[in-house]
Symmetry: C2
Subunit: 524 residues, 2 copies
């Protein structure tokens, strides 16, 4: 057992013995170090599939709760559709099959049998399915085959359904949270009587995602429409939210699609409209996934480990007792008990680290790696003087500056009353600071680019979000992509860019007139 | 479109045009009629897989919330493990492979390709997996392969993890909720340093299930140990909770297993104990599934449709407006608005049925089918007189009697204030009444049976729970099973049976001495 730190239990960190690779040394390694050492996820025995550990899963649960509430507030209900999709269903929508009938998990048999040499079990060749099934990579087809049973008239519309589920896309190159063969997500699938309603829904859910990303994850995002080449397979319009990670690459964090009547046609879903005519139903679909956890890590964390926005932290404050003798322990523990109860009563998550045989310093280190916003240290002298030591996971020293503006704060010694009273405002301030810092970082690394020369220079110097006028072909896009590994992230909705970004101009490659700028950048 | 009632949307019932088959006519048909007409679930296009519709899923969400809170209160955390299990993993635990390496979904390939005639897609034979994967039927093996990475010393124990997930067992004969190829469940998997702790956990979770079944589902259950032939494949001890359905058959509603060191041995999971010795870890696992929804239906519902215990109802009260003219509508709607706000403010779920073109009577019928506990009717004269009509979904007329004791109550006309004040106590009373009635029904149909003659007679007359002394072999059990399709449900823990049920006696078949009675019955 060479590396004890990877061997700790699901319930608490093991005491720091390894270091997190600094971002400046190896950004990818830094990311994976945090995922592993904060015990967010592990690789599993199954290729490309991850184990989401309790600490990582608790973040997903918080995200789910926030999103689910927003879905319900906008009139949606949850339901559950089958995991399996008959292969023939994919072929019904021409573009959908091109996009999804590729790398996927195919179920071909339904039974195992004992091997004749009794060395184990094997697939029973007698159990071949008449039609192979795939494990859902997305559920439009299976859901629209069900909607056909539910819809006959305009009175049955709209249908506003969301599903929380696992999906599988047999990715060749995987990366924990960001790209895995199996992942968890939600997928909304709505059915409407008119194009206008379906489009309104598509935009409404994009706004729900923005609100969630910015106000809960503290991750600023650009809303915009994808270019035709980047659309969801089967969609007429795809919108995305794109965040900027600390390496200045974009992360597509959520998508919302207007599907027109494509899936209704594919599954023959018609309704009698108010005028008594049969018409195909209009559709939207939209989703976010556990990929958001990857985005969360890469937006906020530092070289000491994870940084969690308070709204997604299960533990807001960790209490670390400091003592040497049994007598001191008794005294300190009594105080910890009281402090814990008071923080709980404030409605915050609190954890009292009672692990024995581990120095306070090792505990600090563990909880810093895990991104717990506040640490409270209680020693015997603090009890005597009625004080507490309160430490924030980070402070923003130079708002508006780059990532170095986040530093570990030195200890703050406060009276117990002061300390307890400062917890709620401290958490609110930290939530706000994370968003402000990420926004400042994005602004600093966003540029209006008006020529190919500027474009080259921008990406040679580290890049970011290049706001460019574009009227090139899809081939031209690929040429651009080859030079700097950039792509068009989206065509941002107005009002989100640097000053002047909403004015018309000319394409930086072709010189043709262009009504709106697109954002080009490297991406995950 | 022959049957309009099966065609309604996900959001509201369509107006009753079909009837539910009475229990006395065809119990199985009654069950399926309720599932369909209350819009709980549908058959899907994939063999044996169901679509859980929004109304059915909302019950599952309520169940999840209650269970999840209980799991967390007992120290458990949620996590997520891969959907796929390598076939070789199953073979590692000898009994487990016998139990689960049978009917399951086997993934053998990872890619589709276009057919050469372009008529669709097919499995790409080049994409065969080196080792086939099965879709998890249960997750002991994949989870213990992960635990091996997390456990090295007693300090890493216990691990108390639960997973909410979908599982697949390729059942040949399926029935919505009760037995489907894919179903949703939770599975707890815990790791302990001692046998005593693992056993304590096994029993603790059995008690959590009992508490949930009785206090939330209002379904009385018998806790007991399964006989060796009925144990979970790989367990040393299996405990179950068993409910009695209205046809007097038992439904196994949850199980909790003590797994000993079997899976730790299979996956070589050892820990250094406090004495510095290597030892295999002790395990428990426990689960309940969407099958509970089937149990809920069959415990409480009547010939008018679903009956929901208030603690699992998303809608506690439905408001049905009654009007003829536009003027009346305006007046009635203003009152509905106020009443709705007041009920919401009390913390109850309330739905105002605004559907046009549907008579109040059709609406009553719909909401009765869906089991909404309370109905409030508001007409123009009620507004004038400051009154409301309050109707309970059921009243218990003869407590302690059989299922006929539940009847539809006649209308109760109350002042608005009285009506609103009575909602909370009415819901509490209805919750209690459902439990009391189900308990009385079980008691009435439970019998101490002391001879084979009595046993035959009991099951000829409809049966129920037969409390018998038993010391037969597994072969003898099979003989008994053939005669009356009965099986040993479990060996109840003391204190749950009719008077005298805890005393020792002699086996009804063999005459051998027996320390405890078992419960035999027909079952699902």
């Amino acid at each position: 057992m060479a590396n004890p730190s990877s061997k700790s239990s699901g319930k608490a960190p093991a005491g720091g013995t390894t270091r997190i690779t600094p971002r400046a040394t190896d950004y990818s390694k830094w990311y994976l170090d945090i995922v592993e050492q904060a015990q967010l996820a592990d690789h599993s025995a199954v290729r490309g599939c991850m184990v989401i550990r309790p600490y990582g899963y608790s973040i997903w649960e918080k995200m789910q709760r926030e999103l689910d509430q927003r879905f319900k507030d906008t009139g949606h209900q949850n339901a559950y559709f089958p995991l399996f999709i008959p292969v023939s269903f994919l072929s019904r929508e021409a573009r959908h099959v091109e996009g999804f009938a590729k790398e996927c998990a195919v179920v071909t048999h339904h039974r195992l049998r004992a091997k004749t040499d009794k060395s184990g079990v094997e697939v029973d060749p007698e159990s071949r399915l008449e039609e192979p099934l795939i494990v859902r990579p997305t559920s439009e087809t299976i859901i629209w085959s069900a909607y056909k049973q539910w819809i006959q008239s305009y009175r049955d519309l709209p249908i506003l359904i969301n599903q929380w589920a696992n999906v599988v896309r047999w990715e060749m190159r995987t990366r924990l949270f960001l790209r895995t063969a199996e992942f968890l997500w939600q997928e909304g699938h709505t059915a409407h009587a008119t194009e206008a309603e379906a489009l309104e829904e598509t935009r409404r859910m994009l706004e729900v995602y923005r609100d969630f990303a910015e106000n809960i994850m503290a991750m600023p995002v650009l809303r915009g429409e994808k270019t035709p080449g980047e659309r969801f397979a089967g969609a007429l319009e795809t919108f995305s939210i794109e965040g900027m990670m600390q390496d200045r690459k974009a992360l597509q964090a959520g998508t919302s699609h207007y599907l027109g009547q494509n899936f209704a046609r594919a599954f023959d879903v018609q309704f009698l409209n108010a005028q008594g005519q049969l018409e195909h139903v209009y559709a939207s679909s939209w989703g976010v996934s556990t990929r958001l956890i990857g985005g969360l890590i890469m937006t906020h964390s530092d070289d000491a480990g994870l940084i969690l926005p308070p709204k997604l932290a299960g533990i807001h404050a960790v209490i670390v007792p400091i003592y040497k003798t049994d007598e001191e322990k008794t005294k300190v523990y009594a105080e910890c008990e009281k402090v814990m109860a008071e923080i709980k009563a404030q409605g915050h998550g609190v954890h009292w680290d009672k692990r024995e045989g581990l120095s306070p310093g090792s505990k600090y280190y563990d909880w810093e790696i895990r991104g717990v916003p506040l640490r409270i240290e209680i020693g015997p002298r603090d009890v005597d003087s009625g004080k507490l030591v309160l430490v924030r996971r980070f402070v923003l020293e130079q708002p508006g500056e780059n990532e170095k503006a986040l530093r570990m704060r030195k200890k703050q010694i406060l009276s117990r009353q002061e300390a307890l009273a400062s917890i709620t405002p401290a958490l609110a301030e930290m939530q706000q600071q994370l968003f402000q810092r990420a926004l400042a970082f994005r602004q600093k690394n966003s540029r209006l680019i008006n020529s190919m020369g500027e474009y080259d220079e921008f990406f040679k110097q580290g890049g970011g979000f290049a706001w460019v006028h574009w009227a090139g072909t899809q081939e031209d896009e690929e040429t651009m992509a080859k030079q700097h590994q950039t792509s068009i992230r989206n065509i941002p909705l107005p009002g989100q860019g640097p000053e002047g970004s909403d004015a018309p101009g000319v394409c930086i490659l072709t010189g043709k007139p262009s009504a709106r700028r697109v954002v080009m950048s490297q991406s995950y």
